[in-house]
């Protein structure tokens, strides 16, 4: 197979730079991939594959950075959207779908006694903090270093446009470091409204870390003793590990869970669910947006939940994700390379264990990209329920070639 070229992507990028700051702003910026070896603009997609504007085909291991959980253009989800679209989507009122979707979320997510919708993950992580502050009448929040909760001022990893006050009440601790967590709780005793964290630690430019040493149980117990709420930011992991919520996968109950990405298979929607005692406090926090009640996405959400349950989407992703992880480990060893495969199987990630600067990983992902396997060099990956065993086999065969290039270039 001949290596891919990205001429049209580059051409469009140059044009984009004239009209759009940064040309491709945000997390899709090619600046954090390997520019020149990655596609910049997409054309179309189907199932677990997509095509860029140069006509190159990829096995998709980013799934739109998570939302595509059933596969691109899933027929049932798209049909539900088309049916709603025929009636309209943006009205002066919500539709019945909002009620249906909320009910379905409450029935599906174990801790949920209520659900409320927005569009982006950041909308609901910020709202969850406010609800926690309103309920507890406290200001401080504990979060994990390197955790990502969106682009709002209190949590953005960026530097521009911020004031020192923006993050004043956010106190950071290391993931899995219960002593540090406990010390923070002591230090701000009686002032902490909530602990917000992803269910496992999935920082960029890093291995992924599972909870260790009974982390969540210890955190849950201390939070209960101190009147601190636990907000699980399940925007990234949500529904891939367990459709009942990732807290259930790790054996504890959250107080609120933030969802977005996967809940409508690519249609823009986010949701916050919470336990009963927080319902009234949540009504006292101003929360709205022009498009937050749009019906199309809610139709997609309902269809997504139903289909995920019908086909045990999470089970499928665990299976193919495990196949991919094991395959990468095996190939790495065969090439005499030290790979570090981390993360839960549906959200895998790989880097090279013997480097801190990602140069091998940058080469590996560039070589994979040029062979039609889209793997981000620095950000965890995603599989979908549309990935089959055969797709994974094909991806691994191409990764084999990419490993060979790394071996040849670096030697170890």
């Amino acid at each position: 197979m001949s290596e891919y070229k990205f001429n049209r992507s580059l051409e469009l990028f140059k044009e984009a730079a004239r009209y759009i700051p940064g040309a491709i702003p945000g997390h899709m910026t090619p600046a954090i991939t390997v520019p020149g070896s990655f596609p910049y603009f997409a054309e179309k997609a189907e199932g677990c594959r997509y095509w860029d504007v140069d006509g190159n085909e990829y096995i998709d291991f980013m799934c739109g950075y998570g939302p595509i959980v059933l596969g691109h253009r899933h027929p049932k989800v798209d049909e539900a959207v088309r049916a709603q679209q025929a009636k309209g989507s943006c009205f002066n009122h919500p539709t019945e779908l909002q009620v249906k979707a909320a009910k379905l979320l409450v029935e599906t997510v174990k801790i949920a006694d209520w659900a409320i919708f927005a569009k982006n993950g950041s909308d609901v992580t910020t709202y969850a903090l406010q609800v926690a502050r309103e309920f507890t009448q406290r200001d401080c929040v504990i979060a994990c270093r390197g955790g990502y909760h969106g682009g709002h001022a209190w949590c953005t990893p960026g530097h521009g446009g911020l004031t020192p006050e923006d993050k004043m009440h956010i106190h950071l601790v290391n993931w899995n470091d219960f002593d540090e967590f406990k010390a923070a709780v002591e230090k701000y005793k009686g002032q902490i409204a909530a602990f917000i964290s992803s269910p496992y630690h999935h920082p960029t430019f890093s291995d992924q870390y599972m909870p260790e040493n009974d982390w969540w149980n210890k955190v849950r117990k201390l939070c209960d003793e101190e009147g601190i709420l636990i907000i699980v930011d399940d925007v990234r992991a949500g529904w891939r590990l367990n459709i009942a919520g990732s807290d259930q996968h790790f054996g504890f109950d959250a107080d609120m869970i933030c969802f977005s990405k996967a809940i409508a298979n690519g249609y823009p929607l986010s949701a916050l669910v919470g336990v009963e005692k927080l319902k009234l406090a949540s009504t006292r926090v101003f929360f709205t947006g022009s498009f937050w009640a749009s019906a199309n996405e809610l139709a997609a959400c309902i269809a997504t939940i139903e289909e995920m349950k019908a086909i045990d989407a999470s089970g499928k992703m665990w299976k193919v994700g495990t196949q991919f992880q094991e395959g990468l480990r095996k190939l790495g060893a065969q090439h005499g390379l030290k790979v570090s495969v981390t993360g839960p199987a549906p959200i895998p990630y790989m880097k090279f264990a013997n480097e801190g600067d990602f140069r091998r990983m940058q080469l590996f992902s560039a070589e994979a990209s040029k062979r039609g396997v889209f793997l981000h060099p620095h950000h965890n990956w995603f599989v979908s329920a549309a990935h089959t065993e055969a797709d994974i086999d094909q991806a691994l065969a191409r990764c084999d070639e990419a490993f060979a290039v790394v071996k040849k270039t670096f030697g170890d």
Partner: protein, 266 residues
């Protein structure tokens, strides 16, 4: 509340003076070294001169500058004794002098000869030509390359100053992973690095082997446009005019500080 705000503004203004003074003395003034290596007028000015001077801000930074054998060297080593020592009573006073205003620092050591002061002022004016170049002067490719080199050095030295003295940058500095970030203009330099070790930021001139992250600029123009804030860095990264490989978060966090150096020196 009003008092609080006034206090905040005052603190910010004071911090600004402090940061700018550190930049002027420890990132800009040392560029005299490269100025006399390249600029014929500067070489002429220091011909036959043998002289050393220390600038010191009361309660602040100090720099020792030696002129001799047609060269200029500078160091922050406080043990060297200079022919002349000049004391600024405040950061503001130092900054006013570096901005070309007539201020009279206190000679606290040695004799201060008018002719030396004059030559020093002339050197500073020449330096300004490189650090704030006119469009016309940039038409000369040799001059332009020198501008880029001196700007890159100012940036590398400036980042170290901001990481220590600017509250925003020192906060960001905590997120910069340890290692060495190399910046290189293709095809043949100039290059400079910023080393981060144990929370300390240090400039390194030229290239190093195995930097943690490498940022390369396609050519002199790309580097110049980026340094002068005329180029969208993200766009330049995407289209390959600027390339980054290795520990990208290091370059990413440093870039925020670099932008702030530019803002201070504008």
């Amino acid at each position: 509340m009003a008092n609080e705000m006034t206090c905040k503004c005052k603190c910010a203004a004071e911090e600004r003076q402090k940061v700018v003074a550190h930049l002027n003395m420890l990132a800009v003034l040392p560029r005299l070294e490269e100025l006399v290596q390249y600029d014929a007028d500067a070489q002429e000015l220091i011909k036959g001169m043998k002289f050393s001077i220390r600038f010191r801000v009361m309660g602040g930074p100090s720099i020792f500058i030696a002129i001799g054998n047609g060269k200029i060297t500078s160091t922050t080593d406080t043990t060297l004794s200079a022919d002349t020592g000049l004391l600024f009573t405040s950061y503001e006073q130092a900054n006013r002098m570096f901005a070309g205003e007539k201020v009279v620092p206190i000679p606290y050591w040695g004799a201060w000869r008018m002719s030396d002061l004059k030559r020093f002022t002339q050197l500073s004016t020449l330096l300004e030509k490189y650090l704030k170049p006119s469009d016309e002067s940039l038409k000369d490719p040799g001059f332009k390359a020198q501008v880029v080199k001196m700007t890159l050095h100012t940036i590398a030295a400036g980042v170290a100053q901001l990481a220590e003295h600017d509250s925003k940058a020192s906060h960001w500095a905590k997120s910069v992973p340890e290692g060495v970030a190399m910046f290189k203009v293709l095809p043949e330099g100039p290059a400079a690095c910023i080393s981060v070790q144990g929370g300390k930021f240090r400039p390194i001139w030229g290239e190093v082997k195995n930097p943690s992250v490498t940022t390369t600029f396609k050519d002199i123009d790309t580097a110049l446009n980026l340094f002068t804030g005329k180029l969208d860095a993200f766009a330049a990264l995407g289209d390959g005019d600027v390339r980054m490989s290795g520990l990208i978060p290091m370059a990413d966090h440093l870039n925020a500080i670099i932008d702030r150096v530019g803002w201070y020196l504008k």
